[in-house]
Homo-oligomer: 314 residues x 2
DNA sequence: CTGTTAGCGCCTTCAG
DNA sequence: CTGAAGGCGCTAACAG
């Protein structure tokens, strides 16, 4: 692993000056085809690669980005990160990872730490409590995931679309008593938007809404499903896969047969409960998009931009 | 986020030379208390932090490590990484993450990429197909997780101990017909060792072993449980939590009541199936240990070392 | 105790 | 088209 060769060695080995080697390395023009090939040969032969630190010191960019997830074991975020990583690597960026655990203070600490690293940019998975002022210093080099923070780039999911898709499908299948289990409105996206989309659909189709908003997680799902169930209920819409998991456990225990539907298409739920109707919020695409957007932004070819990923029934 | 101050600025601002500032920054001795405090004040006041690249170039390390997980959504690995990250950050190391997806070629590619990055060290979550020669170049700066590769540092789980713990408990509860569902022996740890520990316990306690080794994952668990069930079977031991999840789905569907036991204590399984007897292989501790070992090793205060984390009933 | 002087490996003028 | 010379921010000798 020691890459002890330097640009000087390569220069000597191929009988040219360092600047020429540098030009070849950076694909600059102003080098004869002959020389270029000769240098390239030596470079490849020795598996030489320029020192990133030296580069960084000269220019600016370290080519390092950070990805701050809420929890490492969030299935949804995993799916996004899974496409994000390769996208970054392809462009020569090294992604370092951090966990916020839904704590704004931890985000602050992490960003603090990152600012001492001369990081190029940050992808932050948003959650309740993230405020613009917390991120102020990063206006140009930050992409928020799953949430839109005014003034910042973001890649978010189509909450309304996802709910509409599911509701329309349930409705088409004949369901008229559809319960909803979600997240408090303090969570704008998973909470407020999804719930409102549900309410809206109910209103437009003359259905009686019955909703409960205990919050994210399996346990809340389990504990609170009962509250939206009436003897007539035939279907239940869940704002997230963890809620669906919890709710479905409850229903199974009570032997209550209900058509479940949920936002969030993960392998876990697909295996455990293939009967659940799910919609893919586009995690994979969101990951790619976030990486692309961040790179575009820090490479100065793009301005902050709000991007919404369309949902897709599966 | 631009840390535009340099050591020179600090020197000027506090009326000393750069070397003095450097000494203060690195807590070296040979600076009067007076001067030290004055410089420190200026540093804090301006929130100055030295450029990592410049430091790295001057011969110090980059303070960057890589963590190569098999899958970002492995619950077991998540738990280990969750403790590993803070451990690295505390020591000033930036962890970059990669996914191997159980493909040795991908590991090779990643290591290749890392060697051009002048990385300090690597934590690699092992799997079948990882050979010493693949890792040869990293002998001194690599820690393998969950597997021991001869000649390399490793942090592994106590496979035998975990199985014994579970079997002993099942036995103590009166179970005499205990099935086993595991992983082929090509996987030395989760596969061979756990299965053999099962066989050994059966032999020692005069039980009739009944095992099937379809491989990791929920689907294999679901598809193959039936093969180890007899009318007399009262308990089933699973080599991993995903197998347990699969098996338990099958049993639930068939309304077969069985005491399940499984290696792998994750919140998912604890919620979904609290009735399953689980043993914690010590993921959290393993993560801490791996980080500590890697740091000790690259700081040159330690030699490669095989570490085994004890299992613990929960 | 403290300042001065060299580079680390690279990119970037600037001459040739 | 190419090489020589500087300097990025920092640390490590070496002088005072």
């Amino acid at each position: 692993m020691p890459n002890r060769l330097t640009i000087n060695d390569i220069a000597r080995l191929s009988g040219v000056g360092k600047s020429t080697v540098s030009r070849v390395l950076n694909n600059e023009n102003g080098v004869s085809q002959q020389t270029r090939e000769r240098v390239a040969a030596v470079v490849n032969q020795h598996g030489f690669s320029p020192s990133r630190s030296a580069r960084a010191m000269r220019g600016q960019s370290d080519k390092v980005v950070a990805i701050i997830v809420t929890r490492l074991d969030s299935r949804a975020e995993n799916l996004a990160v899974q496409t994000m990583l390769p996208a970054f690597y392809e462009q020569g960026y090294d992604p370092i990872m951090m966990e916020s655990r839904f704590q704004p203070e931890l985000v602050a600490e992490h960003l603090q730490m990152l600012s001492q690293r001369n990081i190029d940019g940050v992808v932050l998975f948003g959650f309740t409590g993230i405020t613009p002022c917390l991120l102020a210093a990063w206006r140009d080099s930050l992409v928020v995931m799953a949430r839109d923070v005014s003034g910042f780039s973001s890649v978010s999911y189509d909450d309304e679309g996802a709910i509409e898709l599911l509701m329309a499908k349930l409705y088409a299948e004949g369901h008229r008593q559809i319960g909803f289990i979600g997240v408090p409105h303090s969570d704008v996206t998973t909470g407020k938007r999804r719930h409102q989309a549900y309410e809206t659909f109910c209103r437009q189709h003359d259905l009686t809404p019955r909703a409960v908003l205990p919050g994210l997680g399996m346990q809340p799902g389990y504990d609170h499903v009962a509250q939206v169930l009436t003897p007539e209920t035939t279907a239940l819409l869940c704002a997230s896969d963890s809620l669906a998991l919890g709710a479905s456990k409850y229903l199974q225990e009570r032997r209550i047969a209900l058509q479940l539907a949920s936002v969030g298409n993960t392998s876990l739920i697909n295996f455990l409960h293939p009967e659940i109707l799910t919609v893919d919020p586009g995690y994979a695409e969101a990951g790619r998009q976030a990486a692309a957007q961040l790179i575009a932004q820090v490479t100065d070819v793009d301005a902050p931009h709000q991007h919404v990923i369309p949902a897709r029934l599966v």
